[in-house]
């Protein structure tokens, strides 16, 4: 065994769809966290149910980890062909762990580090090939000195819904794997040098879906209508799981158009509705968003981006729908776009989205992507005090005017049945009461009223976060899910002249954006798309362009080591 005495180990398990990688990921991350290790995981998978090739990366570390890496310390192939897509990432530093006849022969011939796990035989002992994922769960638990009882409890818990016989088999399989794994590192061999921290055991283990879901609940979300679409479906499932315990009306709509119109109906009647979809589904909702603009309805829209155009790569990642979200919907009306980069931000921004939407009666977007949603790691805590209890509705009186002209552009929002007024919401241009009008003067004041809310929203912009030296020469700029990859890349680089500026509110843009950009001698933008949509927006608002672009649009997320390499070569040119 040739582990470098690193205290941050990246494991990649590569299998077919249907081999239970997600079970393995859930189990191992929990087991590692409960053992006091910092942990991060992310899966990438094909748009199919069985076969093909999927993989899960798990990082186990003495330090906080929140990003995937290109580096693979332990590679675990669990089917024929599992190595094909990893040739450029498996190095002589990588340990290959698995069944010999699954490992491509050249790795064996060229002396790559290999430890045999007789997967077939071990699974056979447990009851068949379906147990391969549990065997590997056990092997890795054993290898990382996890307590056996803890592991078995977790396996039992995980399958507690399933039938008893199956659960027994799963525990058995994990045990068999555990024995094999714990005997791999013979005394005297380099050992796993990851420290355990007691605190970690009590931390929260969440992925992006959980973060946005919990933030939604903290924001008072009680109505979710959606049509399934990768990678956004997880959020629908999150709310469905909590429909009963948290009192959320959850409905799978017949299409996205229905979903957005349902959400508007619910807000109209006093609900707090969220819709969740991806770019293609959102395209169908844009008329509804324009309706929200016109009737001044709050609306919270979660969009999990994936590569387009059209169906594109349904299960992969990209950040190419910013422009769509920014400019969608006909006519002119204000909106807000939030894009979390961390679990904590996901929680806070989802809750904040409900606050802004309700207070200003505008659509608010939470823009994530597959990579963000499926990235899981332990976080210290979430601030439960953020729970939003203020409601921005009024009890109406007879004569109530839904669109009363006010200083701020925001009219007191009534809802039907609460008070004696009539609540009239109209998609046509309307007067203060909500009656259709074609009067040019009223039209003008209604346009101005709606746009005034943009100005008000500009007083509540979340500032970007600067990471690194205040007196940077070079500034790397990103938004949304690139947060951790960029941050870790800077750590790898270790330069004291380079900082990272991360925007979690991408529209309206913070006034200080221009100042940050101005102070940099060299500006580099990092975006998971091909045309640098956010860079263009920044240029439009601040007048500052970028000297370098780190772009990726092949469906995969950024990895910090890869980003560090790109940055290094960009900065070298300069130095």
């Amino acid at each position: 065994m040739v582990f470098k005495p690193g205290d941050d180990i990246s494991i990649v398990i590569s299998g077919q769809a249907g081999q239970g990688l997600q079970t393995l990921e859930s189990l191992l991350t929990r087991i590692f966290k409960l053992s006091g290790y910092h942990v991060y995981s992310c899966s990438e998978f094909m748009s199919r149910i069985r076969g093909g090739n999927n993989s899960t990366q798990i990082r186990v570390s003495s330090r906080r980890v929140a990003s995937c890496t290109k580096r693979i310390d332990i590679f675990v192939p669990i089917h024929q062909g599992a190595m094909e897509r990893f040739h450029d990432r498996i190095t002589h530093e990588t340990v290959i762990l698995g069944q010999k006849d699954i490992v491509e022969s050249r790795y064996l011939e060229q002396g790559y580090a290999f430890i045999e796990i007789p997967l077939k035989e071990l699974s056979g002992r447990a009851g068949g090939a379906v147990y391969a994922n549990l065997i590997m769960t056990g092997v890795l638990s054993g290898l990382f000195y996890v307590e056996r009882q803890l592991m078995e409890d977790e396996v039992g818990r995980f399958f507690s819904g399933a039938d008893n016989k199956r659960t027994q088999g799963d525990i058995l399989a994990a045990g068999i794997g555990y024995e094999a794994g714990s005997s791999l590192l013979k005394p005297g061999q380099a050992s796993i040098a990851i420290e355990r921290a007691d605190d970690v055991r009590h931390e929260l283990l969440m992925n992006g879906i959980d973060a946005v879901g919990m933030g939604g609940l903290a924001g008072g979300c009680n109505f979710v209508s959606a049509y399934p679409m990768s990678p956004s479906t997880g959020l629908l499932v999150f709310f469905a799981r909590h429909a009963a315990d948290s009192g959320v009306v959850v409905e799978q709509a017949e299409d996205e158009i229905s979903a957005v119109n349902m959400a508007l109906g619910s807000w109209y009647a006093g609900g707090r509705a969220l819709i969740t979809t991806s770019g293609g589904g959102y395209a169908l909702m844009t008329e509804g968003v324009s309706l929200a603009g016109c009737i001044e309805s709050p609306l919270v829209i979660h969009i999990g981006q994936r590569p387009g155009p059209a169906t594109g790569l349904p299960t992969r990642t990209e950040q190419a729908d910013l422009n769509l979200v920014l400019y969608s919907g006909h006519g002119e009306f204000p909106r807000v776009i939030l894009a979390p980069g961390t679990i904590e931000q996901g929680f806070f921004l989802a809750r904040h989205a409900f606050y802004l939407a309700e207070k200003y009666q505008v659509p608010v977007f939470i823009l994530t992507d597959q990579h963000y949603l499926e990235s899981r790691y332990n976080v210290m805590d979430l601030d439960e005090s953020m729970v939003l209890d203020q409601r921005y509705i009024v009890k109406t009186e007879p004569g109530y005017k839904r669109y009363a002209l006010t200083q701020s552009g925001v009219s007191p929002r009534g809802i039907p049945g609460f008070g004696g007024g009539r609540v009239r919401a109209d998609s046509d241009e309307h007067d203060e009461h909500g009656f259709i009008t074609e009067d040019a003067g009223v039209r003008k004041s209604m346009v101005e009223k709606r746009l005034k809310k943009h100005d008000a929203l500009c007083d509540e912009i979340l500032p970007p976060v600067l990471i690194g030296p205040q007196d940077y020469q070079c500034l790397l700029v990103g938004w949304g899910s690139t947060f951790h990859a960029a941050k870790e890349a800077l750590e790898i680089l270790g330069r004291d002249d380079t900082a990272f500026l991360h925007f979690s509110q991408v529209y309206p843009l913070a006034r200080e954006a221009g100042q940050y950009l101005e102070r940099a001698k060299k500006r580099i933008i990092i975006e998971n798309n091909a045309t640098s949509q956010f860079g263009t927006l920044l240029r439009q608002y601040t007048g500052f362009g970028f000297d370098g672009r780190i772009m990726k649009f092949d469906g995969t997320p950024f990895m910090p080591d890869e980003v560090a390499d790109e940055l290094r070569s960009m900065l070298l040119k300069e130095d």
């Binding site: 006093g270 439960e384 109209d426």
Partner: protein
């Protein structure tokens, strides 16, 4: 006696003199007046079109939304506050054309709402193109050789979807139309009332007179719970049967089955956020 649903404000009704819409709104008011409703709890949802302007001329809450999209809005309103009485009212183009998918799925879902459709067999507001219900051969500036598609039969389709209540009325008969609307609103579950309506400006074929000649009322002997019989009635083409064609009280009502109401009756707007619940959920992510 003037209706409590008569608008309080002065209004300029945008309909053409002689239009069947005037009769329909009379029938709607008459029906609402007959029912024992709290006017503060009456919500109308409409789409876009001439028919869709109806709520503007009533003293009710309304959401006058997008063309074709009234049913999802209405469904959600009901699911958000079950104390409200919700009507989705719009034209044939709005409900069966642009909104066709929602029509299908609202029926399947079966919320306790009433769906009133002004069926003038034409697109009125956009000046006379064919609607899904236009008769074969109907000539318009777009359908210059006459409509070639099979006319959409909302009743047979609703029955095929096992709708909970399916009725048809004729705008010319305010009294009977009001009665059918009353039954529809009283019915628990989704209720369709398709109202044959004359459009004096763009439909010179299906006129008031034509409807009079091509309709008849179902009599007492008719049994609206027999689905096969209802289907046969619904597809009759020489004369349109008026009345309640089909009733199916078996299907669960959408909003009643929602998990959110399993242990809590209150409308969503009256609910706060349960901090303990959120804490417990967070804790579930610790261990």
């Amino acid at each position: 006696m003037s209706s409590v649903y008569e608008p309080e404000h002065e209004i300029d009704i945008a309909w053409c003199p002689g239009c069947g819409n005037f009769r329909i709104i009379e029938a709607v008011k008459a029906a609402l007046d007959q029912l024992d409703l709290d006017p503060d709890k009456v919500v109308f949802v409409s789409g876009i079109g001439q028919a869709a302007k109806t709520p503007q001329y009533l003293n009710v809450h309304y959401l006058n939304g997008l063309h074709g999209r009234s049913l999802p809005v209405a469904t959600a309103i009901k699911a958000t506050n079950r104390d409200l009485m919700v009507v989705a009212e719009s034209g044939d183009g709005c409900m069966y054309g642009e909104g066709g998918n929602h029509f299908i799925h609202a029926i399947r879902r079966n919320p306790d709402i009433t769906n009133i459709v002004h069926n003038n067999m034409v697109y009125g507001l956009t000046k006379g193109q064919a609607s899904p219900t236009s008769a074969r051969g109907f000539v318009t500036p777009v359908q210059t050789l006459g409509v070639s598609s099979e006319p959409f039969n909302p009743l047979s389709v609703a029955i095929a979807l096992n709708a909970s209540f399916v009725g048809r009325a004729f705008a010319g008969d305010v009294e009977q139309t009001a009665q059918i609307i009353v039954s529809a609103i009283n019915h628990k579950g989704y209720a369709l009332v398709d109202i044959l309506q004359n459009c004096v400006s763009f439909n010179k074929v299906n006129t008031y007179q034509w409807y009079k000649e091509h309709t008849y009322y179902l009599d007492e002997s008719y049994n609206p719970t027999d689905r096969d019989a209802a289907f046969s009635k619904a597809v009759e083409e020489d004369k349109f049967a008026l009345g309640i064609l089909y009733i199916n009280g078996q299907n669960p009502v959408f909003e009643e089955g929602l998990a959110a109401y399993a242990e809590n009756d209150t409308p969503l707007y009256m609910r706060g956020i349960d901090l303990d619940r959120i804490r417990a959920l967070m804790d579930s992510m610790r261990a």
